[in-house]
């Protein structure tokens, strides 16, 4: 795993994103690119978490449906979906989310462990919780999100 939460009082940058009503974040260092709505080629026979493939400047990127990974229902309005591009083992992956919001700088010491009552699907991917002024931010682990069907890449 590339990213481990650092508990010393350093600042950490997160790309924040929306999944339904929930604000989430992934470490900015794990993100190579942010993509707008892209045509995605569906791949038959693929696991349901794989939304398909897309063409990123001549490279083929496998798209992972984060909603599906977290056990959320498909979005009602699928227009304007965005993706975060991450690299694992020399391969490019795109994390398909509802919307990418902004980059946030947060102090590592403010991160709290995820509550034990969190849904198992979320608990498996979450690394911690930040209490922001108005809402909660759930940080997600990119490496775990890219683990499909128990296979580690």
């Amino acid at each position: 795993m590339k990213f481990q939460p650092d508990h010393s009082d350093t600042e950490q940058e997160f790309v924040t994103l929306m999944l339904g009503d929930q604000l989430c974040g992934v470490p900015v260092n794990d993100v190579r690119d942010v993509l707008g709505d892209q045509p995605i080629t569906v791949i038959p026979l693929a696991p349901p978490e794989i939304a398909g493939c897309l063409n990123l400047r001549g490279r083929i990127v496998t798209v992972v449906d984060v909603r599906r990974q977290l056990g959320l229902p498909p979005a009602i309005d699928q227009t304007g979906r965005m993706s975060l591009v991450a690299e694992r083992g020399g391969e490019l992956y795109a994390l398909l989310v509802d919307q990418v919001v902004e980059v946030m700088r947060l102090s590592a010491s403010r991160m709290e462990p995820p509550p034990p009552t969190l849904q198992p699907a979320w608990a498996a991917f979450s690394t911690g919780i930040y209490r922001l002024r108005k809402r909660l931010l759930v940080t997600l682990d990119v490496g775990r999100l890219l683990t499909i069907g128990g296979a580690v890449h």
């Binding site: 045509p39 080629t41 569906v42 791949i43 038959p44 026979l45 693929a46 696991p47 794989i50 398909g52 493939c53 897309l54 063409n55 001549g58 083929i60 496998t62 083992g89 391969e91 992956y93 890219l146 499909i148 069907g149 296979a151 890449h153």
Partner: protein
């Protein structure tokens, strides 16, 4: 490692490979001054550089070798097999030292005094006595040396050394360029009268040329691979006591260096096999009226995007008896299964894992790792392997491999509203089924719920791409469906698609690791319009449909790896009785309905006029069913013969394992098997073909 040393190593290794070939040429044509000069120059260069780099051990061996060659050049000693053997030994020692040097950066420790002494002695003596102890053989050498290579010297053109990595990078960039060019062209197509048209045209042309040029840098003649074979065979022929003649044809045939690397081991193995298993001992050959020297012929040529390499020996051929015995001993097949196999099916058993016919394990082969590895290596790169053998005259193994793995021509097809690419190398033909594009005589027929395609002389198993990929059913607006006939090994499969769009040059990109378990995909690619599509793997699709090849009833895959693999499509029918009979669908050429009046009696048994020839008709029991105006006939055919089997009723086509449990109660029947829960007699097609066509008139009825 020292850069100077690294360069020395690369150069010397290449030089040594050439030296091997040149020495063997010298052995064959001892008085060729050019070859002598070449050999001398090369070994001299090695010696000179060693001294310069401070490699005393290497220098000493090279010096001793050179001294012998000087004596040969000056004519003070004749070129004899013993001398060549000795020099080759010196080269081996040099290679050993070089290998140590490459591994550690220092000369490995070792004692060369014996070798150097032998070399010195050989260089001084007017000619070593034939029983010289340095000669490792008692084989009569003259007049023909045991292994010789009939190759012409490769002309030397100026070259520069480029790192493979640089070329690989260039290749990737050119691939991207090709894709971008395709996208630009697509954009320009929708834009009439654009000022970009002319420069775009030029760009397109230059890109194509650049692509061809870069591809060319990756091409290497297959001869670079073959260079090592004469030497290997020479050693082999001494070890086995068989004089072997090696003939190489088409060494200049070029193919992608990655492909070349991949076929190196399979090819070596095939040649070793031919020498060890294929060729007989000299006395055996003489007894069979063959020349004493066995011949191994290697040919390479291009054929429509493929390279065909054949390894032929003029040895004893494959013994089906021995294969049969071995298969049973190794538990690879049961006797009943073997009984149901044709000759070529039996031959293909040697591609099964764990199979080896060499009764004894020799140093050369017979360790049970072999042809199965060769086969899987070849198939891994999208190639096929075939074998033909005639007892007493020899064996030919043909491998067919794609020229390059990077850029391929592909057919873009549509199914379930999506597009897919099928490599054109795997496509045999397109068959239209309806509308204006319909192919004459092509009909989809249903046998129960299984669809088969009747096309000319064959019945092809059919699969729908939509169903294979679990796509949503095609919408009604899909134009007339098309059958893409794809080849897998020697088997054919008809793939039903909704549409055929176009052919396009595509750059094959590997499938993402997450998707590797979906075996149907051979890769992904980006089309001219920028969309990502999946490349289908014809071999994998055929395997999934259970027809790995019509020459194999069972796949070589490990049992349980894929459920459908062991299953064969079987045609169930009734003929002359109420009980069920079966035949593998792959063996049925056609199913014909012929008019009763077209069945003509002869003294022996009925015939019908079929495609301008008389086709014997066989009844399994009471002959003709006179009550019906039409007679259903299963036509079985091979290259020269055909026979019709009159049946009462076609019952079904089932997918099942063909496990014959009870031996045949009478001739013409292989035995009884349980197919889809019902017992059925499996008929022996080869028996009927043999029967009907050897003695047409007096054929005794059953």
């Amino acid at each position: 490692m020292d850069e100077l040393l690294a360069e020395f190593l690369t150069e010397t290794n290449e030089g040594l490979a050439e030296l091997d070939v040149a020495l063997l040429r010298l052995e064959r044509v001892p008085d060729d001054p050019d070859t002598l000069a070449l050999i001398f120059r090369m070994i001299h260069t090695i010696k000179g550089t060693c001294g310069f780099l401070g490699l005393p051990r290497l220098e000493a061996v090279a010096h001793a070798g050179e001294a012998v060659l000087v004596a040969v050049r000056d004519g003070s000693i004749p070129v004899a097999a013993e001398i060549i053997t000795l020099v080759l030994e010196a080269l081996d020692r040099i290679k050993q030292i070089l290998a140590g040097l490459a591994a550690s950066g220092n000369e490995p420790a070792g004692d060369d005094t014996a070798l150097i002494a032998a070399l010195e002695q050989a260089g001084q003596a007017p000619a070593p006595p034939p029983a010289c102890e340095t000669a490792p053989t008692a084989l009569p050498m003259a007049p023909t040396p045991p292994a010789t290579a009939h190759t012409d010297p490769v002309p030397v053109t100026p070259t520069i050394r480029v790192q493979v990595e640089v070329l690989e990078n260039l290749m990737t960039l050119v691939s991207e360029l090709v894709l971008t060019r395709n996208q630009l062209l697509q954009l320009a197509r929708g834009d009439q009268g654009t000022t970009l048209a002319a420069p775009l045209q030029l760009l397109s042309q230059i890109t194509s040329e650049l692509q061809a040029g870069i591809m060319k840098t990756r091409m290497q003649p297959v001869g670079t691979l073959w260079n090592k074979l004469p030497r290997m065979l020479r050693d082999l022929s001494l070890e086995l006591g068989k004089p072997i003649e090696l003939v190489l044809r088409g060494a200049e045939t070029e193919l992608d260096r990655r492909v070349l690397d991949l076929i190196r081991d399979p090819l070596t193995h095939m040649v070793r096999n031919a020498a060890d298993h294929g060729l007989e001992q000299p006395d055996e050959r003489r007894a069979a009226g063959k020349p004493q020297n066995g011949t191994i012929l290697l040919t390479a040529c291009h054929e429509s995007g493929h390279v065909i390499i054949e390894v032929t020996d003029d040895g004893r051929g494959l013994s089906t008896e021995r294969i049969r015995a071995k298969a049973i001993a190794q538990g690879l097949a049961t006797e009943a299964e073997l009984a149901g196999m044709s000759k070529s099916q039996l031959h293909r058993l040697i591609f099964r894992p764990g199979f080896s016919t060499a009764s004894a394990v020799t140093a050369v082969s017979g360790r049970g790792v072999g042809m199965d590895v060769v086969k899987s290596n070849i198939e891994q790169m999208g190639g096929t392997i075939n074998l033909s053998s005639t007892p007493g005259t020899g064996t030919t193994i043909t491998i067919r491999i794609p020229l390059t793995l990077a850029i391929v021509a592909a057919l873009v097809v549509g199914a379930g509203g999506m597009r897919f690419a099928i490599p054109q190398l795997g496509v045999v033909e397109l068959v239209g089924l309806a509308g204006t594009g319909a192919t004459e005589g092509a009909v989809i027929e249903r046998i129960d719920h299984t669809r088969v395609l009747r096309l000319r002389d064959r019945l092809l198993p059919l699969a729908s791409l939509t169903e294979l990929l679990h796509l949503p059913p095609s919408r009604g607006d899909a134009t007339a469906p098309v059958v893409v006939v794809i080849r897998s090994g020697t088997g054919l499969l008809g793939l039903i698609v909704d549409q055929v769009f176009d052919t396009e040059e595509i750059v094959v990109k590997p499938v993402a690791p997450i998707l590797r378990q979906i075996t149907l995909f051979g890769g992904t690619t980006i089309l001219g319009d920028g969309s990502v599509i999946i490349i289908l793997d014809p071999n994998a699709m055929a395997r999934t449909c259970g027809i790995s090849a019509d020459t194999e009833t069972r796949s070589t895959d490990a049992p349980g790896a894929r459920g459908a693999v062991d299953q064969t499509p079987l045609l169930l029918f009734r003929a002359g009785g109420p009980h069920l009979m079966a035949v593998p669908l792959g063996l049925v050429s056609r199913i014909e309905e012929i008019a009763r009046t077209a069945v003509e009696p002869t003294a022996g048994h009925p015939v019908t006029q079929y495609r301008g020839r008389l086709m014997p008709l066989i009844a399994l029991a009471n002959g003709l069913n006179e009550n019906r105006p039409q007679q259903t006939v299963l036509v079985f055919a091979d290259a020269a013969r055909c026979v019709g089997l009159m049946v009462d009723e076609i019952v079904d086509v089932v997918q099942d394992r063909l496990d014959i449990e009870l031996a045949g109660a009478r001739r013409g029947l292989l035995g009884t098997a349980v197919l889809a829960g019902r017992a059925a007699d499996v008929i022996d097609v080869s028996f009927w073909l043999e029967r009907a066509c050897t003695s047409l008139p007096g054929l005794p009825s059953l």
